[in-house]
């Protein structure tokens, strides 16, 4: 089970987890869905909001994510990962799709142009990292090399594809792919040593 660690639960807490709730949701149980929403909403809304940087749009996209969770719950396969991972995958995917379709290309170009003087970039990455709620993830991101951190951050939190990342960082594509992979692996090893609390 290499999935994200389950959030620890206080002793005696028997409230169902996202993984417990999903099969009930798949059977059309609206109460279970409400409970699942409560568990996942901060994470879904958080990541969508981070990528879109527009709370009202993030609300709309988060709603789409939850409707999709409801609609496709029966297709979820627990052998492939946790419900929480699935939900953040859906949320991030949708947010990035939306950012790419909404964002006027001029805006993207302007921001890409800003990458010519890399300090602006470092700043974006630093700001994003600093704004993260979870100290462990912040700390683990901080333990990456600059290029690893920039590659992961610009892709995941800013919504750049890896070619754009290569462009703004002035690195070649193979390097960026490698840094992303190394960055994620290192994060995994770093975060894996912590038991992350549930985002509440």
């Amino acid at each position: 089970m290499n999935d994200a660690p389950r959030p620890p639960r206080p002793v005696g807490d028997t409230s169902p987890t996202a993984d417990d709730l999903l099969p009930r949701v798949a059977r059309g149980d609206e109460d279970a869905f409400g409970a699942l929403y409560d568990l996942l909403a901060p994470q879904v809304f958080g990541v969508v909001c981070r990528v879109l940087r527009n709370p009202s749009l993030a609300e709309e996209v988060s709603q789409e994510v939850f409707v999709e969770i409801w609609r496709t719950a029966s297709r979820f396969d627990p052998s492939r990962g946790s419900v929480r991972t699935w939900a953040s995958t859906l949320a991030h995917r949708r947010a990035v799709d939306r950012v790419r379709s909404e964002q006027a290309s001029t805006d993207r170009e302007r921001r890409a142009a800003a990458g010519d003087n890399s300090p602006a970039y470092d700043q974006v990455v630093e700001e994003v990292t600093a704004s993260l709620e979870q100290e462990q993830v912040r700390r683990c991101l901080g333990s990456l090399t600059d290029l690893q951190r920039q590659a992961v951050t610009l892709a995941y939190y800013v919504g750049y594809n890896y070619r754009e990342v290569a462009e703004v960082l002035g690195a070649n594509l193979a390097t960026v792919k490698t840094r992303m992979r190394d960055g994620l692996t290192r994060l995994r090893d770093c975060i894996g040593t912590f038991e992350l609390g549930a985002p509440r």
Binding site: N2, D3, A4, A26, E30, F33, G34, Y37, D38, A41, P42, Q43, V44, F45, G46, V47, C49, R50, P55, E59, E64, V65, F66, V67, I69, W70, R71, T72, S74, R75, R80, G81, T85, S88, T89, L90, A91, H92, R93, R94, V96, D97, E133, Q134, V152, A155, Y156, Y157, N161, Y162, V165, A174, K177, M180, R181, L184, R188, L196, P199, R200
Partner: protein, 288 residues
């Protein structure tokens, strides 16, 4: 880390696992990688592992959502069907009956019908059995249903071979037109209630500039009146034609010329239609 020496033009698909879980693969690499992923079990393991790390990056952004989102989401799922599990999956959905909701302006649901990109990544790992397949089945079933609703190609008692052939060709064509919209990468589905009974479903692709409109459970308009469809942009409405509602109360149309409209509306107009809506729309759903 594998490389493909001597083949500079062949993207080394295996090296794309990290960009993939970061949603950082542009097309067509995304498609190529997903095709590769379905047959590469070591990639699947890696994607699964890295997706869990990406989920931690998401968790680190956790933010309490606005209060009202919960009520909206719960209202939305009440008007959204659920897909059958893959093993029984024929793409049919069962939509539970919904409570009365007279106010379509607030009652419409932005359904989470997905762009194929999001849908195909239903889970970050595949074992050769992509979510795209049920999706495809769903599309086919929906397209077929729409064609049946449209009354094309399923004429009972068609006796003449030629006529039947023509109808089949028409049905195929109609289905293709519908499917094209459903399969568009940017297609979105929105549903809403029609005042006075009935439901409207619109699948819109701004890219293709087309929309598939399905009306169901519509009551006939008053004598001498007709339903007229509108694409609404800001405060102006462009006619998308008039529709006849027959006894079945079902209508399906493929409309072109969405023109970036941000809403779709239906109003009751004098026979033959109007230049602009003359009555309060009986339905309005947001398209953007």
């Amino acid at each position: 880390m594998t490389t493909t020496p001597g083949l500079p033009d062949v993207p080394d698909l295996h090296s794309l696992t990290a960009p993939y879980v970061l949603d950082a693969l542009p097309e067509p690499e995304l498609r190529e990688f997903e095709a590769h992923l379905s047959t590469c079990s070591s990639c699947q393991g890696e994607v699964r592992e890295l997706a869990a790390v990406a989920a931690q990056l998401a968790a680190a952004t956790a933010t309490e959502p606005p209060e009202q989102l919960r009520a909206r989401v719960l209202a939305a799922i009440r008007t959204t069907g659920q897909e059958a599990a893959p093993d029984t999956g024929n793409g049919r959905t069962t939509v539970r009956p919904t409570g009365p909701d007279g106010d379509s302006a607030n009652g419409e649901t932005t359904n989470g019908e997905t762009s194929s990109a999001a849908e195909s990544r239903h889970q970050p790992v595949t074992h050769g059995h992509r979510a795209r397949r049920p999706r495809r089945r769903g599309l086919l079933a929906l397209a077929a249903a729409l064609v049946i609703l449209a009354g094309v190609g399923v004429g009972a008692g068609v006796v003449q071979y030629q006529q039947a052939q023509q109808r089949t060709a028409q049905a195929v064509q109609e289905r293709e037109r519908i499917e094209t919209v459903l399969a568009a990468p940017d297609s979105r589905t929105v549903r809403g209630d029609v005042r006075g009974g009935g439901k409207v479903t619109v699948v819109v692709s701004q890219q293709l500039d087309r929309a598939v409109v399905l009306l169901d459970g519509m009551s006939r308009p008053p004598r001498g009146r007709t339903y007229q469809l509108w694409f609404i942009s800001g405060d102006s409405a462009r006619s998308a034609g008039v529709v006849d509602v027959t006894g079945s109360g079902r209508v399906s149309e493929v409309l072109s010329g969405v023109g970036g409209a941000n809403a779709f509306g239906i109003s009751v107009e004098p026979q033959g239609g109007s230049k602009a809506p003359t009555t309060t729309p009986v339905a309005a759903v947001p398209l953007a």
